[in-house]
Symmetry: D2
Subunit: 410 residues, 4 copies
């Protein structure tokens, strides 16, 4: 049990001995925070709330969220009055002042709680966990506070404020065990597996925020290779010999994982890939290709909805399957491609470079995409333009080989 | 010339060779920033704007401020439409959404410029300098952007986000020369004078912000003494022997200076004193008094406005003068005492402890307050309550000796 | 393969292409180093030798050691001449100078190789590995260089030059995997086992040398407990609840392991225990006992050589076994007790505090000592005196309970 | 007064109250150190001796040195016995052992005091100060300990163990004030003068030892220029504009100063120049010349001993003076040139590049060398060979222009 947690437990125990429930305790603390004029005590109270919250059970957290949600309402009567004042303003100057007061009336009184939390130890982590909890419960009552919190975290986790850190086998074990826990694409089976992914011909980068220095936000795993990797097993083989990084011409991004459910939709992955492409280009000038080796999570499910003739899996090179896959990856609905991973990389300005048959024959790989994997290519000079073309005109950048697969006829 | 400055100069030169004025260059950059969708280029442009601005002359800065001010207007028609939508909302849910849109309409489009600047190297310093420039020019056109910027900086420089750092003679010379430049109470005459103020029986603390790591925001100079210091000269005497800090029972705060004109009214001094009182109490448990030795800047001027009989300066102990001074320091107008330094300490929750005759006989000391100085006492346990009593009831905390001076009759 | 190794490999390859064997290459480098006047090139050559040596195979290393051994001979004729000069000296001054020259003649020419290696990157590690290799081969030819190196390392690894570092779960994984590899007393079975040993109620300290910053030299594992631990299993139980360190009154040193075979006999363990006792006493004032829970490696073997009547293992508390064990642990031969672990702790000034029956029932524990373990107590105030009494008079410090066990009659 | 000093003073006071003189106290401590078996107490005693010594006055220090000197004697009878044992050894093995014992007999018993001091806080500084004191007193009784200490410090301050650190205006003021104090070539007049010497077109490097991290050992001041600097004033002009370092092609070493009188003859300056030439070459690839602008301290005095016809100082370019100076700088006596600065640079492998008339017209410059200064050029590729040629054959490397000056006839 961490020190923070045990301290919060002691606080709760003290309140309980005085006959308050946890809920009442938090309620009272939040009320004190919102009422307080003096900033030192308010900060101390906010720190206590942060610690207590992190120590709460599921039930108690939910009650706290409801209480917080209520504080995020605004007062319709006050808003109406402020509107009336704007409409009655005799001149531009007075109108400007009335507008300012109206803006204040429209801002939930509890909004500055976020600022308060962001300024205390553990408070930023609290905000991130609050949003994770709000999203998980999905209660419509939480819509307003959820949206305010999303806007707030988007500013707080602006890529300009994040620190890009390379993670090696020299990193703290307490950090590395988080990578093992958070890896979302290809599970890390053991410390030996992890060590292999941090070898001299590998790179791992993560974003960190100064207020959560021990918590990775998102991380990417990269293999330095000669030529584009077409299948997964060699990348995960702990016995494979290491390549001298100076001889590598390609960086293969084979896994990218978000670590904080509370930071969903903040686009950290996009910023991470862009900064890492820059960083690697500086460190290893011999690199001239930045590609992914990516899963195609929705292919198999989509395939089952298609009226395709019997797949001739024996057919060499799996051209029929790859052709169908090319179709799946380039089909748009609602201005975006169907596959979420493809949508992520295309939005970032990558190009669909190549499809690889029998690239991931693990049970999961077969189940998701019949073993097919995709390479997306990041070309620094063309990313902006491609991202724009995809976003505004739904244009999917693809290589000639993918184009050929698309029109393939058996 | 710093590297950043010379880089910005090169940028300006490049634009000039293409025929643009600095003004047009900045104008175009700001337009690009506000129009841009892609966040990497926007950040790069923001960094360029920051560098250029810091390299501009007075005239050019003023033009840039006007341009920026214009971007901070809102559109009255759009606001009126949004108001109409709120008023027409058929139910609570739609009204809530209409209110959210109204809030957006009331927020100047350029507001997120601040966020953008805060996320780039040098950008926080730019925001601070922008406000300093806005305040210095005092143009009514700047009122809106000035107010938005004030609110923004208040959040950004929340005491919870500042770093308290002790400054010693081992600090970088480049930092120490800033103390010499910024000292506002008792000018630092030389490096030897500064070294004396950083001796083993002295303490100096400053607040720093992570985004301006080399720039002190506010700093305080303290002497550790046995008993309360009643006059200034021994504190500034470079030849005075050092006291073993373990023998000190009193910390005398004899100078506190703001370093950033752009952070005026952010109340950094208050937070600094409170944190330093805490810090010193922990480091040196033998300390049991925290007092200031403070100037009384407005006393002499006030005295001249009073119809007092001839001051008998020969009178021992200067009781008549001290009595008048006690009256000056405790007289309220508009709910605050007349003297700005007294108002600062009383607002912080300090008590007027004692008045000292002939405490500062320097020309400035005589001119400001006929040589009188005041001790304010900070008692950690009573600060909150005193600050409250002063703020809400105009109650001035004072010691018995001051009370006696107040009723003294010659 | 590390960078240093691959660089050394390149060097060897270069020499091989020119037709030299590795042996000739090193021979030439050492000759150059010893002949050189200019210190920069000598250092570069020494660094190369260090890198090459670390990359050599067993056979090649052995040949290098023989070559080095030969350089450590002195010239009898030169010594005889220098002796003659001392004997012929006409006065005290000239004799003193002749003595100085004789000392030089008696010092192997290659002695300053050590200094040279100690001054280059990787050179200190080379010296440590050299000694490990010399000891392992045990060739009498190596006696001289081995002894010179021992004296040299004893100075270089003087406890005053070592850094005591606490090791936690936040330490680099690359360091922690070395603990797993080096643990010599109770093998660390997994990363989870290691994590348990670094919990909040545990401490782990190691000595480091500035020239080998990533290599622990010796480390000790400690459990903070309430009362003296009498058996091993609870200490290694990953599921056991953590004790609040502030509630602990006893520090149990349950494992101490040397990491560098080349530093055997340098007495690092003794210095480590003393410094850690100091350090823990400062950090946790509530601790008032520092004891070990130690194996008794030679007990079972010794027992088999004794003509003891059938052990009545069913007898409650195992008093007969403990009595025999007390005898074993206090029997001296050649001025030291028979058991190496007992000798280590008694030399350090510890007292034999208590014997624990059924304390380690693992196969190894049964095999070494029929499951018995010993507690040795370190009392800071009495360590010097006890170490002296043991060293000079063979006096074994023991508690009353051990004394009773010693005279126990069934 | 530093903490260490005041602690030592307290120790002395305690001993004095018990009736011991400082001398007796130190005497007893040293005896304890030499007699002690247990290494922890010995280290503590050594630390106390170090602190006390640094706090002593001149008189007391001298007495301590005499006491220490006595401990550095060896026992002639023991040496004679050991010699007899060598001569009587029946075989090679026994002889080798007898030789080892003889070496021990020849080594002053107190020699390991140095090791002991080197291992305690402040002990390395003590050794350096001890040597400074020994050299200053120059008593023949100190010859032996002085020589042992010289050999010891030479190993301890081997260039491989020193840290090269760049010093900028961001360095601690407490360090920079030491540069002001130690500058030996062109006195630093003020903090503004120092700041100018640390500008963006300047470099300052120093060597440090890990055991004296706040004490520079030797430092060099460098100006980055376009072309070789021919006179001193522009380098010291605080108002001179800064050159963009990227445009510089020449590094001018215009001052090199030893900081520790106790490290005289350890050749730190030589190692510093070589490492800085390397470092600058890496940092600024546009640099292609490394020259000094050096004083010629003995020229004027030498000139006065020469029977030269009246110098025609009005003669343009000062060719007659320069010709004489070239003669002075290249004249050898006892295998080295007369001028100490010239000897330093030639020993390092530099070439005499150029003589500059009216280069330093300060009173000191006129007095030392009638205003003439010399440039020595360091060419990395040729330094080893030139140093060798000068050391073994007395060959002075010089440019054509110096050679011409040498043969100039008016």
């Amino acid at each position: 049990m961490s020190e923070a947690k045990s301290r919060a437990r002691r606080l709760l125990d003290r309140f309980r001995r005085r006959g308050s429930t946890t809920e009442e305790t938090l309620d009272r603390l939040v009320a004190r925070i919102l009422g307080h004029h003096e900033s030192m005590s308010r900060r101390a109270d906010a720190a206590t709330v942060a610690e207590i919250y992190l120590a709460l059970g599921e039930e108690e957290r939910l009650r706290f969220l409801h209480m917080l949600g209520r504080e995020f309402h605004t007062d319709p009567a006050a808003i109406d009055d402020a509107i009336a004042a704007v409409q009655a303003a005799p001149d531009a100057t007075e109108r400007r002042e009335a507008e300012a007061r109206l803006r204040v009336a429209l801002t939930p009184a509890a909004n500055h709680l976020f600022d308060l939390f962001a300024g205390v130890d553990g408070g930023v982590k609290l905000l991130v966990d609050l949003r994770a909890d709000l999203l998980r419960h999905g209660d419509p009552e939480f819509a307003r506070i959820g949206h305010e919190l999303y806007l707030y975290l988007m500013r707080l986790f602006d890529a300009g404020r994040l620190e890009l850190r390379r993670i090696t086998w020299d990193a703290p074990a307490s950090l590395l065990e988080k990578l093992i826990a958070y890896e979302a694409v290809h599970a890390i089976g053991s410390w030996a597996d992890l060590k292999n992914r941090l070898d001299s011909d590998r790179r791992c980068y993560a974003f960190f925020h100064a207020a959560m220095p021990d918590e990775p936000l998102v991380f990417v795993e990269i293999a330095l290779t000669a030529g584009i990797a077409k299948e997964l097993p060699p990348l995960l083989d702990e016995e494979a010999p290491d390549l001298d990084p100076a001889l590598a011409d390609t960086a293969v991004f084979y896994s990218i994982s978000n670590c904080q459910p509370g930071l969903v939709d903040i686009k950290l992955g996009t910023a991470l890939i862009k900064q890492v492409v820059d960083e690697l280009g500086r460190e290893l000038p011999s690199l001239h290709q930045f590609v992914t080796l990516s899963p195609i999570p929705g292919f198999r499910r989509w395939l089952e909805t298609q009226a395709v003739e019997e797949l001739s899996v024996e057919e060499p090179g799996g051209m029929q399957l790859l052709s169908l896959c090319a179709r799946y990856l380039t089909t748009l609905a609602d201005d975006r491609v169907l596959d979420p991973v493809a949508n992520f990389h295309l939005s970032n300005g990558a190009m669909l470079e190549r499809l690889n048959w029998s690239a991931d024959l693990s049970p999961l790989g077969r189940e998701r995409s019949s073993g097919v994997m995709a390479n997306y290519q990041y070309e620094p000079d063309r990313m902006a333009e491609r991202a724009e073309a995809y976003a505004t005109r739904g244009q999917v950048a693809m290589s000639d080989s993918v184009r050929e697969a698309l029109v393939w006829k058996s």
